[in-house]
């Protein structure tokens, strides 16, 4: 590695830092003022790049046209943000945090399908900036002029924001709202107006970040999730709500990435270790380290306790007689399915998927509902279970039964390790750390070719002889799922589950009556991870193939949707939600190209109209009847 290579990578890092900063700063700003974690921030970024593409295609030939397009695209995205804020977010500022996350995630789904409908599925590379098409020579190496311009744009935007925050009345209000929410009310400011303006500004910045990215990266439909992942990391590392923090974090992450590329492959102890491969995961490593070391991020300040204590939950009761009879009836139907369903062999296949999803969702609900820990990376344990089983079978030549039984232990080990860090945090920070660990697991599965098969994954994972028939495997899945769910329910109704809820309801009181909340949450994390691992192992042998996408963030989010769809406050919620979600996805996805948007609309309805979820709403209805009768 030479000095000039290092310098060029350093400059690359600076350009990357500008991009990251623009992508993330709006998210931090919005969170600071509204306390909304806007999952759709990456989508606004993506729309910025698409809109700029369309504009530059028409008027981008001249210098003025190009930069005009960039500004116009940013303004358009900001306007869209204002509309979204007025129509949607206003209604959910007082909703529990989890619902806000979900509502904004619904926007992600809708925005993606809208982009698909408008711009199509192809990648679209915008024209290069007129006047900045060439490269400059730095120490004998070529460096793109446009990237050089970017290096200056990032700090310029930081400076402009800083000026606004410290010198204008609007800025003073933003700072007041970020530091002390009550104060804004006291200043007699129309809070609704302030929130709308800040959301508009934040999305405008995301749009600007996207538009500026146009000449460097093709517009594509994956930018939303990639963008939000990066933005979250930057904001969490910098400290939620801190704008200088966002810049510092962007700089550190981009430079570490650049350094990894500069180092390249290193030969240590007879192994080739590729640092450039680390770039996929380095930001999540940085985030994990920062959160463990400084749980509020580099420049974060403790924010006033969340205003949104979740909705009051009714006491848990064991199932009554009617519920038990209903449960047995469902079980009988499930047992009969392969017999009755011989003419629809697909029903058994779909039912296996549903059962696996039920076990996955029930294990997530265990830590999310009663535990109060909103994991955004539960797919990690699903994936560890799947890979655990797959590796035991392929690398250690174990029989399938043993691999299925021992595979979940890898998930248990993962949960034991990650859980120890995660349960130290709470709220959004916990959500982000779980996500970070899931991304790390994902990238290990994706990159460790020799062991995990890399992006191809592991193939040929077929069940043992006696389970070869789909019906036989179905019965195995049914037994493990029913057993697993009943076990989790039993634990929730046992003292352990009560202690877990106690720690969620009032950590102060729990500690004051001798409960070590940390230990209960940690053990709950491990229990949930293990059961989730069983779901993963079952999944592996039902498909015969596993690839890194079993750990993808999309699966983690699916789990959250399942639990909330069914209702987080009821035991039956995750079961109903997982079944409904999986069935809908299967039925709708085959028929309707825009099923994601449909799902997004369904989530929005859910959040705004049925915040208790399906099972929760039914339960309340039944209770009302009882009272009326």
């Amino acid at each position: 590695m030479s000095v000039d290579a290092l310098l060029v990578q350093f400059l690359n890092g600076l350009a990357g830092a500008s991009t990251l900063f623009l992508l993330a700063v709006g998210l931090s700003l919005i969170f600071g003022v509204t306390r909304i974690v806007n999952f759709a921030h990456g989508s606004f970024y993506m729309l910025g790049i698409y809109i700029a593409y369309s504009l530059t295609a028409r008027i981008g030939g001249s210098v003025l046209g190009f930069w005009g397009s960039v500004v116009l695209a940013a303004l358009a995205v900001g306007l869209l943000g204002v509309i979204v804020e007025c129509l949607l977010l206003r209604r959910i500022y007082r909703a529990p945090e989890l619902f806000q996350l979900l509502a904004t995630f619904a926007l992600v789904l809708i925005a993606r399908d809208a982009a698909l409908a408008i711009w199509g599925p192809e990648d679209l590379l915008g024209p290069r900036a007129p006047g900045l098409k060439g490269a400059v020579e730095i120490l004998g190496r070529q460096f793109p002029q446009y990237d050089l311009a970017l290096i200056f744009i990032g700090p310029a935007v930081l400076g402009a924001l800083w000026w606004m925050l410290t010198r204008t009345r609007f800025g003073v209000l933003i700072r007041a709202a970020t530091e002390d929410r009550e104060m804004v009310g006291a200043l007699g400011v129309n809070q609704a107006w302030l929130f709308t303006a800040v959301f508009g500004l934040g999305t405008l910045l995301a749009g600007l970040g996207g538009a500026l990215q146009g000449p460097r990266e093709p517009a594509n439909l994956g930018l939303d999730l990639m963008g939000i992942g990066d933005a979250f990391v930057v904001v969490v590392v910098g400290g939620m709500g801190s704008i200088p923090g966002a810049f510092l974090a962007a700089l550190i992450i981009a430079e570490i990435k650049a350094l990894c590329i500069a180092i390249g492959t290193v030969h240590v102890f007879g192994f080739d270790f590729s640092f450039s491969k680390l770039t996929l995961v380095v930001e999540f490593l940085v985030m994990a380290v920062v959160l463990i070391w400084k749980p509020l991020g580099l420049l974060g300040k403790p924010s006033a306790a969340s205003r949104n204590s979740s909705a009051v939950e009714a006491p848990l009761a064991p199932p009554d007689k009617a519920a038990k009879i209903f449960g047995y009836a469902v079980l009988v139907l499930l047992l009969l399915l392969p017999v009755v369903g011989q003419m629809f062999p697909y029903a058994v296949v779909l039912m296996i998927d549903i059962l696996v999803a039920v076990l996955f969702a029930a294990s997530l609900h265990f830590i999310m509902g009663p535990g109060g820990m909103h994991s955004f990376g539960h797919a990690a344990y699903f994936g560890l279970g799947a890979y655990g089983a797959g590796l035991l079978m392929k690398q250690f030549s174990m029989p399938m039964e043993a691999a299925l039984g021992l595979g979940p232990l890898l998930a248990a080990a993962g949960a034991l390790l990650f859980g120890w860090f995660c349960v130290r945090l709470s709220g959004v920070y916990l959500a982000m750390l779980t996500l970070a660990f899931a991304q790390i697991v994902w990238s290990i599965a994706f990159q460790w070719d020799e062991v995990t098969g890399g992006s191809n994954g592991i193939i040929g994972l077929w069940p043992a002889e006696w389970l070869n028939q789909k019906a036989a495997y179905y019965y195995l899945t049914l037994a493990l799922t029913v057993g697993g769910v009943l076990f989790l329910w039993r634990v929730l109704l046992a003292p352990f589950g009560y202690a877990l809820r106690a720690g969620r309801d009032s950590p102060l009181r729990a500690d004051a009556i001798g409960i070590n909340v940390f230990n209960y949450q940690w053990m709950a994390f491990v229990l949930a991870g293990t059961v989730c691992g069983v779901a993963g192992s079952l999944f592996a042998f039902s498909k015969g193939t596993i690839a890194p996408d079993v750990i993808h963030v999309g699966r983690s989010i699916d789990g959250l949707v399942m639990v909330l769809l069914g209702g987080v406050q009821t035991l039956a919620g995750p079961v109903v939600g997982a079944a409904l979600f999986t069935w809908l996805q299967d039925a709708v996805a085959r028929e309707f190209q825009y099923w994601r948007a449909a799902l997004g609309v369904a989530i929005l309805l859910l959040v705004m109209v049925f915040p208790l979820g399906v099972a929760g709403s039914v339960k309340r209805l039944l209770r009302r009847r009882e009272v009326a009768a």
Binding site: R490, P495, D505
Partner: protein, 247 residues
């Protein structure tokens, strides 16, 4: 040896001394009132006594054993029950379940993964609830209770591990005057029958003078007076800074 012996207790928050060189004792069978205006440092004292805050300096001895550095859950196991100024209960549980939690924890049975929690120690929980006059509400969700009832529930929870010492931070705040007298009368009964010590804070001087065996007065983190109620009432400084501005 006193039940509780506190010496030189000091705690500062960012340079501001919330509690400064405070010392006192609580004997078994005695009710000690800690009074003082808002912000005097009363809650901070309680938080150090039950292990929630670590004092900057000073000593706390419970039956001769130091509790400095112990977490609240350890201090609780040494026989110290606590109620909070702002009630802290388990909102997703029934009234009885709240008490059952303390009983389960006291008996070391919380790690159990199998038995039904709500079927454990029902009779004992109900007996504790009866003691504070909450037996009829045992099945109600804790989240729907009136504030005064929450305070009573907290007392029942605090009694669940048969404590030697009760720390009650404004136990009657938010109650009607009649309720206040009742609750402290009840506490006085418990003190007598179980021979425990109580340290409590209270703004209602009627309650204090009627039930406290002794009282100490805190102002800006410092103890300015102490003794039997009649003595303290006569203290001119106390009259000036506290009783004069009493609300």
């Amino acid at each position: 040896m006193s039940l509780l012996e506190v010496n030189g207790l000091t705690k500062a928050f960012g340079g501001v001394r919330a509690v400064s060189e405070v010392g006192f004792t609580v004997e078994a069978g005695e009710i000690l009132a800690l009074i003082g205006p808002n912000g005097a440092g009363k809650s901070t004292c309680f938080n150090m006594l039950n292990g929630q805050l670590r004092p900057d300096s000073g000593s706390i001895k419970l039956g001769g054993v130091s509790t400095i550095g112990l977490k609240p859950r350890r201090v609780w196991r040494m026989g110290v029950g606590r109620t909070f100024q702002i009630t802290a209960t388990f909102g997703s549980m029934t009234v009885r379940e709240n008490v059952q939690m303390a009983l389960l924890s006291h008996r070391g049975r919380l790690k159990n993964l199998w038995v039904r929690a709500r079927e454990q120690y029902v009779a004992e929980a109900d007996a504790l609830l009866a003691r504070v006059g909450m037996r009829e509400q045992a099945e109600r969700p804790c989240s729907v209770l009136a504030y005064g009832d929450l305070k009573r529930l907290e007392l029942a929870v605090a009694l669940a591990n048969a404590p030697k010492l009760l720390l009650m931070d404004e136990p009657t705040a938010g109650m009607a005057p009649k309720e206040r007298i009742e609750l402290m009368a009840l506490t006085a009964d418990i003190v007598k029958s179980d021979s425990i010590g109580v340290l409590f804070t209270e703004h209602d001087m009627d309650v204090v003078f009627r039930h406290a065996s002794r009282m100490i007065v805190l102002n800006r983190g410092q103890l300015i007076a102490g003794g039997v109620p009649a003595e303290v009432r006569a203290n001119p400084e106390v009259q000036r800074i506290y009783l004069g501005s009493r609300h």
